[in-house]
């Protein structure tokens, strides 16, 4: 635990110092978006990496966070920070609800993935049809820059907020690695029957994991709204966010503390790079992005953070 806490503190300090030193808006935006992608990947990792439950619809919780953040301010007249707390709580509650339904009936593997995908899609359609969500047009948050409104003139303010969430997610992950709950969660992931035989309640364990995971996705959704001040059903509940969250965690290394951070950073760099290099040929950047993903999944099953071990194994197999 001590070593994990020390590395998290060092990470926070390094990002903080970098942000403080940076002047260029482009790079500050890069840091902000990379941290935001890290938050998505880290949130997914709690349930997918440590719990072994692969959600394909994590946008559900993201969207709930974003919409609660918007509606609480626009229609509830709540302060943005209070709304943020509410967004996290509602996303967590939606996570418990989906978890209770699917884990109660023992949905696993691809069935669980499909159910989460379906839930996200149902919420997207609901958001299009309901009036309090602004329907297909979405909701716009008026620009009122002040710390009290959680709107900052500089990217540095936003970086502070999202870094706070990333550190919180890292701390929760570190706790999973060194606690009874985390040990039981990983036991359920590795072998549910064996876990049950030694007294682990798989239902409650998975429920706890999805609630935590969803709460962090909700935080990411609320953060998204504060930065871009606009949300619509496609952004909130569409597949893009779900994919970004799970790809970041898988590419970086599921069930590790730093894998999702690394994955989110590398993917973000890659996306930016391909967009800048091949942006004039629409679609080519996505082709390269996809090809790199395929290569990583094929040759580095443990993700980038497990690269050393995977390469050693490939080497041994090649010689043997």
């Amino acid at each position: 635990m001590g070593r994990d806490l020390a590395t998290i503190a060092a990470f926070a300090a390094a990002v903080g110092a970098l942000t403080w030193a940076l002047d260029s808006g482009v790079w500050l935006t890069f840091v902000m978006l990379a941290l935001y992608a890290t938050l998505l990947a880290q949130a997914w990792n709690i349930l997918g990496g440590y719990g072994g439950q692969f959600s394909f619809g994590h946008a559900l919780f993201f969207g709930c966070g974003a919409y609660v953040q918007a509606i609480a301010q626009l229609q509830g007249g709540l302060n943005a920070w209070v709304a943020l707390g509410l967004a996290v709580a509602v996303a967590g509650a939606v996570g418990s609800f989906v978890g209770a339904l699917s884990f109660r009936y023992g949905l696993k593997g691809s069935y669980f993935a499909l159910v989460t995908l379906a839930f996200a899609e149902v919420f997207r359609i609901l958001a299009v049809s309901a009036s309090f969500t602004g329907g297909g047009v979405g909701l716009m948050l008026p620009l009122q820059e002040s710390v009290a409104n959680l709107q900052f003139g500089s990217r540095k303010g936003y970086i502070g907020v999202v870094l706070g969430f990333v550190v919180a997610a890292l701390l929760v992950t570190a706790w999973l690695r060194h606690s009874r709950f985390g040990a039981q969660l990983q036991a359920v992931r590795d072998n549910e029957d064996a876990a049950r035989a030694v007294g682990v309640d798989p239902y409650r364990t998975k429920l706890g994991a999805i609630t935590l995971s969803a709460a962090f996705m909700g935080a990411a959704g609320a953060f998204y709204l504060q930065v871009f001040q606009y949300i619509d059903p496609g952004i909130a509940f569409g597949p893009h966010v779900s994919v970004e969250a799970l790809v970041g965690a898988i590419v970086g290394g599921m069930g590790t503390l730093w894998g999702p951070v690394l994955g989110a950073l590398v993917l973000h760099l890659l996306a930016d790079l391909t967009r800048n290099l091949f942006g004039q040929l629409p679609g080519l950047n996505m082709v390269i992005y996809g090809a790199v993903l395929v290569l990583i999944v094929m040759f580095l099953p443990r993700g980038l953070s497990g690269m050393g071990r995977s390469v050693r194994e490939l080497w041994r197999r090649g010689r043997g």
Partner: protein, 254 residues
């Protein structure tokens, strides 16, 4: 036998479609004993374990553990109450080390991580896994995995341990090493004297260890008694070797 039985089965049955896997089985396991459940392949022994520990719910009959009716109660609740089973096909948490595997069992009654890891180390010593503590469970040999399966169950500090063929797949030397380990579990007063019910094919172990044996064949209990009694029982010999063999064997020795 004035003492209350630790585990009682009353007319337990289950069928899978047309296959009557377990039919009207009743017996009682006395506390502090080491008993064995034997029978030919497909007799329903593992199914009976699943019915006791809550992995399956009996179609009829009752399971009473420590005076409480636990028929069909979820396995994790039974483990909490003190009945832990192992699996014939070993089920390690492959991605984790031996120490972490055993600690999951220890966590049942121990919320603190450090204490659970320390308990895991003690249990590993008891079953002879201490040198492998920091190996990934996936790297263990079959014998090692059997020990791990035993250790993880033992770490839950059970009153009743259901061991499903912990000796299967081991070579004679490994079996000889494992028998004293199993015996020590029952004898070891420091752990509150665990009661053990084992499914076993290795007759050497059954003869050596068990005080009481139940024989299951085609889902039915066909004999019970001491190891010497059941191995002399005609029905048991015929269940294993076929109809008429008991008389032939007697003819051969007469």
């Amino acid at each position: 036998m004035a003492e209350r039985a630790l585990l009682e089965l009353h007319g337990v049955s289950i069928a899978f479609g047309g296959l009557r896997a377990v039919q009207d089985v009743s017996f009682a396991v006395q506390p502090g004993t080491l008993s064995a459940l034997i029978g030919p392949n497909g007799a329903g022994k593992t199914t009976l374990f699943a019915l006791m520990s809550g992995f399956l719910k009996p179609a009829s009959g009752r399971v009473v553990f420590d005076g409480v009716d636990i028929t069909g109660r979820a396995p994790h609740l039974n483990a909490r109450a003190g009945m832990t089973r192992t699996f014939q096909i070993v089920q390690p948490f492959a991605a984790q080390t031996v120490r972490e595997n055993i600690a999951v069992g220890a966590h049942l009654h121990e919320p603190r991580r450090a204490a659970a890891l320390a308990a895991a180390e003690r249990v590993a010593q008891q079953v002879g896994l201490a040198p492998q503590l920091d190996k990934p469970a996936a790297d263990l040999t079959v014998a090692g995995r059997k020990r791990l399966e035993l250790a993880r169950a033992l770490a839950t500090r059970p009153k009743l341990l259901l061991l499903d063929e912990v000796l299967a797949g081991l070579n004679p030397q490994e079996i000889a090493e494992m028998i004293p380990v199993v015996r020590s579990i029952v004898a070891d007063g420091a752990h509150g004297g665990v009661t053990v019910l084992m499914i076993e094919h290795v007759m050497q172990a059954v003869m050596n260890l068990a005080e009481q044996v139940w024989v299951l064949a085609q889902g039915q209990l066909i004999a019970s008694g001491t190891p010497a009694q059941v191995t002399a029982d005609d029905r048991v010999i015929e269940a294993y070797l076929g109809h008429g063999t008991a008389a032939r064997l007697r003819g051969a020795t007469a």
